[in-house]
């Protein structure tokens, strides 16, 4: 039963491989590097840190298959995490201007004394900007939609014995709008992202209303 929530979104991504985008500096990696790895630190609903790895796909379109893993700070680093499988691709470029999209499939987990949440979702990031050999300036828009969430309650179960444990349907979606600046040197890129986060109805917005990410990427 639970595998359905993983397999179906993965299939949807495979079927939609004509889209794609990036966090990469395409001006730097275009036709040259086949792998990248990145370490990041930032704020994404909570304070987080993470690692990414990507590998070029042998297609005409500049495309990398990537996996990101991030975890929230705190005493227990492994209780809350997000894993994203994405396909980054450059849809269009003209000179140093570039447009890309990045569809992804997300698995995330949260655990505390209140409850454990395990969720599947899909997201899409679009990036448009200047990607030079050294500098990157880009705007980005992102949407993240939960598909299904499995809940298992701890304190909430004691508090309300009739509470439901199991799978629940889509519990919402989030938008992010922001920008990024990057500086490339050698096979590395240092990048800073900054922007605003919104709930999909633009009302029930997150307590931490912004996101930011400082990352160091190495391509080879």
């Amino acid at each position: 039963m639970k595998y359905r929530f993983i397999i179906i979104p993965a299939l949807l991504i495979v079927f939609s491989l004509r889209l794609y985008a990036q966090d990469l500096n395409w001006g730097q990696v275009r036709d040259q590097q086949n792998h990248f790895m990145a370490a990041k630190f930032g704020a994404d609903y909570a304070t987080v840190m993470g690692l990414s790895y990507g590998q070029r796909l042998p297609w005409k379109l500049q495309t990398f298959l990537a996996v990101d893993l991030s975890s929230s700070f705190g005493q227990d680093l492994l209780d809350d995490w997000k894993m994203r499988f994405s396909v980054q691709s450059e849809l269009w470029h003209s000179g140093h201007l570039s447009l890309g999209v990045k569809p992804g499939f997300i698995i995330r987990r949260f655990d505390s004394n209140v409850a454990r949440l395990f969720s599947t979702g899909v997201d899409l990031t679009a990036t448009l900007g200047y990607f030079g050999a050294k500098w990157t300036f880009a705007a980005e828009a992102h949407y993240d939609q939960t598909l299904a969430t499995n809940v298992k309650h701890h304190f909430l179960q004691e508090n309300y014995p009739g509470i439901y444990n199991g799978w629940i349907g889509a519990t919402g979606g989030n938008f992010k709008f922001g920008g990024q600046v990057g500086y490339s040197f050698g096979g590395n890129m240092l990048a800073l992202k900054l922007g605003k986060a919104y709930a999909r109805n633009f009302k029930d917005n997150p307590t931490l209303p912004f996101y930011f990410e400082l990352s160091l990427l190495r391509a080879w």
Partner: protein
């Protein structure tokens, strides 16, 4: 054709039964309008979750819970006052706990706090058999602020008040307290446990989902090492997320001052603060209580802000002595 079959298959798989998180009773208990077996009272245009204990002709003791947006479940030990000759009344405030949910717009106007004062007034009117039947208020946190707002407006109607750590009696004072009590450590487990779940639940307006999400946020104040000295989580029915958020927004926009007429209240009040709440302490208790002409300040040893739950024995003995003096 093959694509059509694949999409049909995917659609059928996706449409398999999964519970809707907004279903009443699924993730948060049903409210009085959804479950008619719950004790309830229609009052002042809304349906409140109300319970009483004791003899109806005894002096009234109204318990007023905190929040805003909390409920009275953690105050239930106070029903023992019924054995000491008090008619004990518990109620979940408008839009909170097991009381009927109300739209955010109800708390948006200039009279939002007045509405809460009026609800309390109507509740007292409903249970007071004769004008000579004494009425006592016992409020915790925001409930102590609301009790003071009522005394400020109707000093002649109240025979005594027990106040447990009201944040402040003006919005400026309350903001000052909140800035101390909600100390934020960006990289702490406590803060991330409160914020991280927000990405799972975002942009659905149903109150059931907002209330459920608030359960995670509420864990912040009870996490190990919390500033306000709570020993851990305490029982509740439902976090009234909309009531909480709307009343805080209202206070930020309009402010309040519950002290304008307190000098007219001649009766001694009992003011409790907790030993373990690092954000409160004696100095702040003296500052907040100052507008009352006669004040008895007492410390509740070994407990934090949720002293009516974690420090009940101490609260009970001091409160009973005070109330019996005025009974």
């Amino acid at each position: 054709m093959n694509r059509l079959l694949i999409f049909a298959l995917l659609f059928s798989l996706l449409s398999c039964k999964m519970e809707d998180p907004a279903t009443p009773g699924l993730l948060v208990p049903k409210t009085v309008d959804q479950d008619p077996t719950l004790p309830q009272l229609a009052i002042n245009g809304t349906l409140l979750h109300v319970e009483t204990f004791g003899k109806a002709t005894d002096p009234l003791l109204v318990l007023i819970h905190g929040g805003p947006g909390g409920d009275y479940r953690s105050l239930l030990q106070a029903k023992v006052f019924a054995n000491k000759g008090y008619f004990v009344i518990f109620y979940d405030q408008r839009g909170t706990g097991l009381s009927q949910r109300v739209d955010r717009s109800v708390f948006a106007g200039a009279d939002a706090i007045q509405l809460m004062i009026d609800d309390l007034g109507k509740l007292i009117e409903h249970f007071q058999k004769v004008n000579t039947q004494k009425v006592f208020l016992m409020g915790h946190s925001w409930g102590a602020m609301l009790a003071t707002a009522f005394v400020n407006q109707y000093p002649d109607k109240i025979s005594g008040v027990v106040l447990a750590e009201p944040g402040g009696f003006t919005w400026t004072q309350t903001e000052e307290y909140l800035s101390r009590s909600n100390q934020i450590k960006l990289f702490s487990e406590a803060l991330n446990n409160a914020l991280y779940p927000e990405q799972f639940f975002a942009g659905r307006n149903e109150h059931e989902i907002l209330d459920y999400k608030a359960s995670f946020f509420g864990s912040f104040e009870n996490a190990p090492g919390n500033t306000i000295g709570n020993a851990g989580p305490y029982p509740f029915w439902r976090n009234g997320a909309v009531a909480f958020s709307a009343l805080i927004d209202n206070a930020e926009q309009r402010g309040f001052d519950f002290t304008t007429n307190l000098q007219q209240y001649p009766t001694k009040i009992l003011f409790l603060y907790s030993e373990l709440n690092q954000a409160y302490q004696l100095e702040w208790a003296k500052t907040v209580a100052a507008p009352y002409p006669k004040v008895q300040i007492e410390a509740i040893k070994g407990a934090g802000h949720e002293m009516l739950h974690f420090g009940w024995d101490n609260v009970y003995s001091k409160s009973l002595t005070y109330l019996n003096e005025l009974k």
